[in-house]
């Protein structure tokens, strides 16, 4: 009970910190820039609150660190955690896109070899069961979609993908809640 709301408070705090940094660094941002900054700070705050123990949180940070513009923000939000989570910061670096791409490529090669083997063996027509193959195709398509949605999902197998999705959904929900309440409060304040 208390822990969940305290998590939200921590998230809020980090998020606001990030925003203040952005504000101090750049003056007169356009609305698009502001939106980007807000979203970025929110994502990084979420990842840091999650303590980088999950794949998606590390992937969020990794993708943010790809962009050089974000370095200051990264340092600010993530830097304070680096001492606590040395391992996590190393993982963050390790999760860079090149290694992910390699993982994906090697998995594809493996899958292709399995597939060839299977086709040769089952050429007698075992796969001609239409409903089953259709279902399998559907599921494959959707897992691919899900992989694209969840940050860092490309290089995960099905089981860990589902776990990560579970976790990600819950925390994403918390993020949405906090953002929504902040937006509503700001709206009310401005409205008066």
């Amino acid at each position: 009970m208390h822990s969940a709301s305290s998590i939200k408070q921590k998230f809020l705090k980090k998020w606001i910190m990030g925003l203040q940094l952005c504000n101090s660094s750049k003056k007169n941002m356009t609305i698009m820039e502001r939106r980007k900054a807000i979203k970025l700070s929110a994502d990084l705050a979420l990842a840091s609150v999650r303590n980088y123990t999950t794949r998606w949180s590390r992937a969020l940070v990794a993708s943010a660190s790809q962009n050089d513009d974000n370095q200051a923000l990264l340092q600010h939000i993530i830097g304070s955690d680096a001492a606590k989570h040395k391992k996590a910061s190393i993982n963050v670096v390790a999760n860079s896109t090149t290694s992910v791409a390699k993982k994906i490529a090697s998995k594809k090669i493996l899958k292709r070899s399995w597939g060839i083997r299977r086709v040769r063996k089952l050429s007698n027509g075992a796969l001609k069961d239409p409903p089953y193959s259709i279902a399998k195709r559907l599921v494959k398509k959707r897992t691919q979609l899900l992989k694209n949605l969840v940050p860092g999902g490309e290089s995960m197998d099905a089981i860990s993908l589902i776990e990560e999705t579970l976790d990600y959904m819950v925390w994403l929900r918390a993020q949405v809640d906090v953002m929504r309440s902040l937006a509503r409060a700001s709206e009310r304040l401005d409205g008066k």
Partner: protein, 345 residues
Amino acid sequence: MNNHGTTTITGGNDASVFERQQERMKWQQEQSFLIVNDHQLPNIMLSSMQPFQGLVGNIKPDPGMENGWPNFSNGCDDQFPPLMADQNTSKNSSLVSLSPKKRKACENLKLKEVSKEKEDKDKKIKGCSEVISTENSSKGKSKVTEIKKQDFIHVRARRGQATDSHSLAERVRREKISERMKYLQELVPGCNKITGKAGMLDEIINYVQSLQKQVEFLSMKLAALHPRLDIDIDNLITKEMFEVSTLGYSSEMENSTYFHLNSLLEMGNNQIDMMLRKSIGGPVSIPETFVVSSNCYNQMQPSVKWDAELQNPYRMEFQQESSALPYQPQKITGFYEGSNLKMEM
């Protein structure tokens, strides 16, 4: 005993049958070897398109082979060994890549064979499959190729340990996946009635997409509201309490909109706690920080009730956002929490 076998087999040519017969003699000492042996008989039949019931009728099992016939279902299970007592569902899930003929065959035998210490036999299968594969290689490739022509699935079983652990691992993997899909079903609103992976995945994808879009939308909204990105958080907290009080639920009843916001956030809290509580037994990545606080709380939340509560306020939230109702004055109940935050900052 073996003449019995030879006279009734009509599918293969004599030479192969004789060879097999010799093998059988050798293997009849070990019960588990009969598993592979019996693969040969019905598989030949299958490939020769005889109905399976006829197969059972034709080949009267001799006493030495009596063990073999019940073992066939285990042999069938050799490819998809059942690990748990719950046979039917696991069977259904595991037989997906078989041809319909073979599936029927296995299922028919399943009906005949009631669970007879299957786990022990499975272990034996595991232990002996190694031996079988070595024996196979020692016999030379002719046998393997011959059988390859007749029934490809048989070869797969003969590959021995690799296949065994592979199929076992497959089964374990599938069960893990379905278990986690159940968690997901509880989390995603409105997924109670949907069964099957594809539909569930669809819902999950929609949900995650909608959440991400909400984040985008809200960040846009905030950007529009704050021209200079200076969010005066202290001011916000003191004037407009938007941080949730986890207690004092009933005191907010007077204000319906606020109640819904609170209940939504509450549901969010419950959700996180419940979810993490459940998954503590599972993956390591779920944080341990929630363990302490969640004991007293979560056991009492039945998921059905939670779900219903969740859906209603959630939908009403959306409606309120879209219609932009004016908000009634708030009661500052969570001031304590707000001041905490203030002190932290």
